[in-house]
Amino acid sequence: MRKTSSDTSKTGVSRRSLLKGTAAVAGVAAATQLTGGFPTVWSQDIKDLTLRSTGGPWSHFQLLENMANEDLDFTVQLTPVGLDEIQKRGLTQTGSSDLFEPAYLQMKFFWPTGKFMPWDTTKLPEWDKVVDLYKAPGKIWPDAWFGQGQNPSTVSYTSGPDTNDFVEAGSTQWLTAHPVLHNADTLGIRPDLIGRPIDSWAELINPEFAGKAALVSFPTIGLMDAATAFEAAGEITYGDKGNMTQDEIDYSVERLIQLKNDGHWRALWSAFNESVQLMVNGEVVIQSMWSPAVTAVRAQGVPCIYQDLKEGYRSWTTGHVLPNHLEGKMIGAAYDYVTWYHTGRVGAMFARQGYYVVTPDNTRKVLPEAEWDFWYEGKPATVEIYDPFGNLMEKPGTIRDGGSYKNRMGRVAIWNSTMDENKYLTRRWAEFIAA
């Protein structure tokens, strides 16, 4: 059923260019079928394949599934679940999907299990178009900040095709995860209820906002946001907020409990929609937010700003990991799919949603100049800006909050991370919740 709409719209050109990529990839068995140079044989063969991918609702939705099934020769099936569920399924029911899209902060849980195989960069035709964030030395541009915590490049490479270690960025051709999306989070605020400029993370713990501030309930992320605020307020200087010592965790949790007892935290939220509702209902006026969550608040007619702050952003990225159970043609299909993701059309679609696919040069080829200027350059809109689903988002003249791509991703203060003291941190966080 999924294929019906797609058969007519397939263009030989884009398929062929993808197949070139696949040809190298597909392993001995498949490659032999291609030696005659008859892509049609190949496409006949993979027509019945279904590639299942499990990832977050931010990337696994109907529109993308439809696009994939229009452009690719096999069927793509996307299953959206929460971040915790991606982890649960990926680690405990690896066979339930052919691709998983965890966040890089979960890579220390995923990769050492040995349940996934590395991607070979030499067989990824768009790899040279991927931004330098995922290559040595882990900076998206030479003048970008490296950021504290788990810079994506530090968990991106493994030593060989059958290994489950992490090695220095760029030292091998073997990728633990194939990068998909990234973006930066910052404080979202209700300008109408605050009524003054906000320019620092320290405002998150300002007593002025007692009972009006919220925190992410995911332990490391909540703790890192709070730590960024404590440091910005000049209370403490951390060695690395993304990889705290036990003493630093103790300090942060004690302060969190103190704030909780003062009635500072209105609520903790775990899902995108909860953070949106807290802002819309006026329960909360300041909290860390995802950029599309801010957009979703505004879409309901409530003023909300994704606030640029002097300390920089907390950033995240996601990637596709390849389960071990895939073989032969299925591996080929997976390589085809992730390559297609990076060829531009998908990048343009995600740009309109406020996210960045990791191959901006290809995105630029597809995204009209006026939209590129708005989404990537941070320039005032010259045309009406629509989201991928056709809803009007911004009128001409508006500027994107958080400015340009460079301003966001070039000023990443901290990466979503898993800390060495993971176990200790989790226990202390549970104490904060129970306090």
Binding site: Q87, L91, G263, R266, N281, G282, E283, T426, I433, A434
Partner: protein
């Protein structure tokens, strides 16, 4: 009236219960056994290693947090139980003894089921426009001048969690009570009255003792539902209330499946002990 149970009859009975038994075996007993096995696995800080260790349990029993979490959970169970029992009993009593017409009884009983026409998450989220800072109650409070500031304790608090528990779980207490009360032989009440018992005495010495199986079944429902709840604590409690289930969720978020399984096993044991205690005190079969 002695019934001879032949082997054929026994065979037939076994056959009749087999679909349910098999379903329970596969979908309940099986997963619980897997959770038990997982609870003995080793957790290295990032990874789950299939290796038998008691560490998860030792840590659980030596952590001060466990006591705090259980106190909180038992407190929530206790308060919810008392309130749902009083409300459930009163409602069931009204339906059974105060109303005469069967149609009215059934109509009002069905009315109590209305909240269950929608999903539990929606039932909870529906409280937000009522209880929030800009919600109906707070608008009224400010309009009447009862308070100048919105009342914050209404939402994202224990209060909100209790409110949702009581709204949803009262029915679980009321339904079995309605069932046992409806079966009480009215002659017993007449006889008590003829012997000069007052209303209170009839209630205390006749009706309540006969309701015990209903109370027991209702209690089992309420205890297990509250002890295992996560959604209300999360959505209405703003995840600021530290129950046992919340601590399990936190561990699962951080991929700590073995410690989380151990927490789950102990919670299961505690709930089973409570249920077992109730079963010993009251013969639930009487009602069946």
């Amino acid at each position: 009236m002695v019934r001879v149970i032949t082997s054929a009859l026994r065979y037939r009975a076994a056959l009749q219960i087999s679909p349910l038994s098999l379903a329970l075996l596969f979908f309940l007993v099986g997963p619980v056994i897997m959770i038990m096995i997982m609870s003995f696995y080793e957790f290295t800080g990032f990874m789950t290693v299939p290796d038998a260790t008691l560490e998860n349990y030792i840590e659980l029993f030596t952590s001060s947090l466990t006591g705090v979490n259980y106190l909180q959970t038992l407190k929530m169970v206790g308060i919810t139980w008392v309130v749902t029992l009083v409300l459930g009993f009163t409602l069931a009593y009204f339906l059974v003894f105060d109303l005469v017409e069967l149609r009215t009884k059934l109509l009002l009983f069905l009315l109590c089921v209305v909240p269950f026409w929608t999903s539990s998450v929606i039932r909870m989220v529906a409280w937000v426009p009522f209880l929030g800072k800009e919600g109906i109650i707070n608008k009224f409070v400010i309009w009447t001048g009862i308070s100048a500031e919105p009342l914050q304790f209404l939402l994202f608090s224990e209060f909100a969690v209790f409110l949702s528990y009581i709204q949803i779980f009262t029915l679980f207490m009321m339904a079995p009570l309605f069932n046992v009360m409806a079966r009480i032989n009215r002659d017993l009440i007449e006889a008590a009255r003829d012997n000069g018992a007052s209303g209170i005495q009839i209630l205390w010495h006749v009706i309540i003792p006969l309701c015990k199986p209903g109370i027991a079944i209702g209690t089992i429902f309420v205890v297990s539902l509250v002890a295992s709840d996560f959604a209300a604590v999360s959505l209405l409690g703003g995840q600021r209330v530290g129950t046992v289930s919340i601590s399990m969720i936190i561990q699962m978020n951080m991929a700590q499946y073995p410690p989380s399984s151990a927490t789950g096993v102990i919670l299961l044991v505690v709930v089973l002990l409570i249920v077992g205690g109730i079963m010993r005190m009251v013969d639930v079969r009487k009602q069946l």
